[in-house]
Amino acid sequence: MTRSWGGRAAGLLVAGGVLLAVVLLSLVAGNQWFGPHDVYVAAADFTGSDTDRVIRYLRFPRTAVGLLAGAALGLAGAVMQGITRNPLADPGILGVNAGAALAVVVAIGLLGVQSLTGYVWFAMGGALIATVVVYLVGSVGRGGATPVKLALAGAALSALLGSVTSAITLLDLSTLNEFRFWVVGSLTLATGSIVTQALPFIAVGIILALTLGRSLNQLALGEDLAATLGTRIGLVRVLAALSVMLLAGTATAMAGPIAFVGLAVPHVARALVGADYRWILPWSLVLAPIVLLLADVVGRLVARPDELQVGIITALIGAPLFIALVRRRKLAEL
């Protein structure tokens, strides 16, 4: 693949075209297949027929949540991999999603918060706290935050947060009943109001993340050199943490804790366009929803008439990639 500016930009356009195609596929595919014309009718010429209602009230929100959550998780993963210079960074593996999940369960199960605009703040708070704790524990001592230390800190924190979450859900049967469908990571709970409520948070997070490209490039040279080049490392870290909080927190609030999208997509982007974060970030933004929506479509089709939740598909695809990365010899290399 060409690494020239024009080549990368053209490639990005092509990827955008693929994304559009996948969005359309997600609208028409499923237990019931529809034609593109049905989608047009449901959007522009709503008649209230069963087909129109399925597309408008189920497929549209589901696809929109997949689009937003995918973009958010991919971008969050890319920012985390850049800021920690860690090929294993992912909001799922580093415990950020687990922090958001616990906060959402506390908000819904114990405090009775109902709307997404209510509990999204909890999710972001949980995501932020988990991010800070994992980074602090993982970066103590010689060598700073190495991939191994961060991954272990994330696993330990996830275990702790997960057991608190399960303690809360076990206290109440109805909470457990909702929770078990949400915790696998699923787009089936999507509604139109969830999409409109989440959109502003995701949008701010995306803008924030996309401004970080140049700084992440300089950080990749090492902190000392980056500081010499004029990067304000402290500020970059704060901005990165804020964007991860907005993106991973909101995505988890919408669709449950989905792992491995944030891990896999930036690696694919890196393989396609090289190590330049000014390109990795926008590519991750476009590629991640393609991956998530495709995973969701696959989940709808493999177990008909039932469904496999999207979080299970991403884990089945992403975890082997994670293991392959671990087996690679020079883990610290990024």
């Binding site: 294993l88 799922g92 593996i93 524990v137 993982g138 103590v140 001592g141 010689r142 060598g143 190495t146 991939p147 191994v148 230390k149 991954a151 272990l152 800190a153 696993a155 330990a156 924190l157 275990a159 702790l160 997960g162 057991s163 608190v164 399960s166 303690a167 859900t169 076990l170 206290l171 049967l173 457990l176 009943n177 078990r180 469908f181 915790v183 696998v184 990571g185 792992a259 491995f260 039932d306 496999l308 939740q309 979080g311 299970i312 884990a315 089945l316 992403g318 975890a319 082997p320 994670f322 293991i323 671990v326 087996r327």
Partner: protein, 342 residues
């Protein structure tokens, strides 16, 4: 270590280890006795002891012997089993983070058991068989995937994290398929719980310990040699891979069957050997001392789990995670500071 010689036989006895074990078991028994007095209604200790001696009324016998005693015994048994398994793994890998709960062996056993619960229900005797097969399969997968010209501790842990993610998501999927009551009992079980444990569970874990602990102790000489490194061990003892394989099988069996009896109670296998090591002030933890500390941890955690939010009882695994996870974070922070981490 003190050498003891009786006629032609000689052995070395670790006095500190024995003292720690005995104290831990005494404390465990005291806590167990307190546990027996508590429940839906309190029974004075004297009456409990009287009943255990066989002189209680019919109702007392039913409550104490058939209801409360198996729970306490299962707690002790799985605590010891998890801890000894953890000690074997930590010493084989020469890494305190390599324990069956962190590298995904418990998760594998749990997946197989949840499969059994959703297919056959909780009462079936399929859970132990499933958990054992699940843990062995998972351990084999992890070992093969982490093997690359030998086994490095950190690669093992990271591969374990990946495997745990796959296995955990399949488990979560199974939970969405079941009806809500099955899902509830499976979730209770997944958190690691001693609630409703009866004599079959106690007998299962008892037999497990009777068979596998002597095997582990017999292998501990080999364990000490393997700790010296493969080359030296090969010179001194010969068949390194065989003894390592047997020790791993014993460790997996202990963790898998303990998971079958009480669910994947987290962090006991990780923490107990480390506590034992510090109490004994040795470089490595003796297996029996670790087992004693493990029993103490689980029985004490279960008492806490029942009493904190009484009358609502938490699963014991929630308490052990609460105690264990911060310890793990501290352990890592400390290992990192002296430069051994990562």
């Amino acid at each position: 270590m003190k050498p003891i010689r009786i006629g032609p036989f000689s052995t070395r006895v670790d006095v500190a280890s024995i003292v720690v074990s005995v104290i831990a078991w005494v404390v465990t028994l005291v806590i167990a006795a307190i546990s027996l007095t508590l429940g839906d209604y309190e029974i004075p200790l004297a009456k409990v002891l009287n009943t255990l001696a066989g002189n209680g009324s019919l109702i007392m016998t039913d409550v104490v012997v058939n209801n409360r005693l198996p729970r306490v015994l299962v707690g002790m048994g799985v605590g010891a089993a998890f801890a000894i398994s953890g000690a074997i793994f930590q010493r084989l890998a020469r890494n305190p983070l390599v324990s069956p709960d962190l590298i995904g062996i418990n998760a594998g056993a749990a997946l197989a058991a949840v499969l059994m619960i959703t297919v056959f229900g909780t009462a079936a005797g399929w859970i132990p068989a499933g958990a054992l097969i699940g843990s062995l399969l998972t351990a084999t997968c992890i070992y093969l995937l982490a093997y690359k010209k030998g086994i490095a501790g950190y690669r093992l842990v990271l591969v374990g994290i990946g495997i745990t993610a796959i296995v955990g998501s399949i488990t979560a999927y199974l939970l969405t398929l079941a009806d809500i009551y099955t899902a509830k009992s499976a979730s209770m079980w997944l958190a690691g719980s001693l609630a409703g444990r009866s004599w079959p569970h106690a007998i299962l874990i008892g037999i497990t310990l009777l068979v596998l602990v002597p095997a582990a102790v017999a292998g501990s000489r080999q364990l000490r040699l393997l700790e010296l490194g493969d080359d030296l061990a090969r010179t001194l003892a010969g068949r390194v891979e065989l003894s390592r394989g047997l020790l791993i099988a014993v460790g997996v069996g202990l963790a898998g069957l303990a998971t079958a009896a009480a669910g994947p109670i987290g962090f006991v296998a990780l923490v107990a050997p480390q506590l034992a090591r510090r109490l004994v002030a040795e470089r490595v933890a003796g297996l029996l001392a670790a087992g004693a500390i493990g029993a103490l941890l689980v029985v004490a955690s279960d008492l806490l789990a029942r009493e904190i939010f009484a009358p609502t009882a938490l699963p014991v695994g929630v308490v052990t995670a609460f105690l264990g996870a911060p310890y793990l974070l501290i352990l890592m922070a400390r290992a990192n500071r002296v430069g051994r981490g990562g």
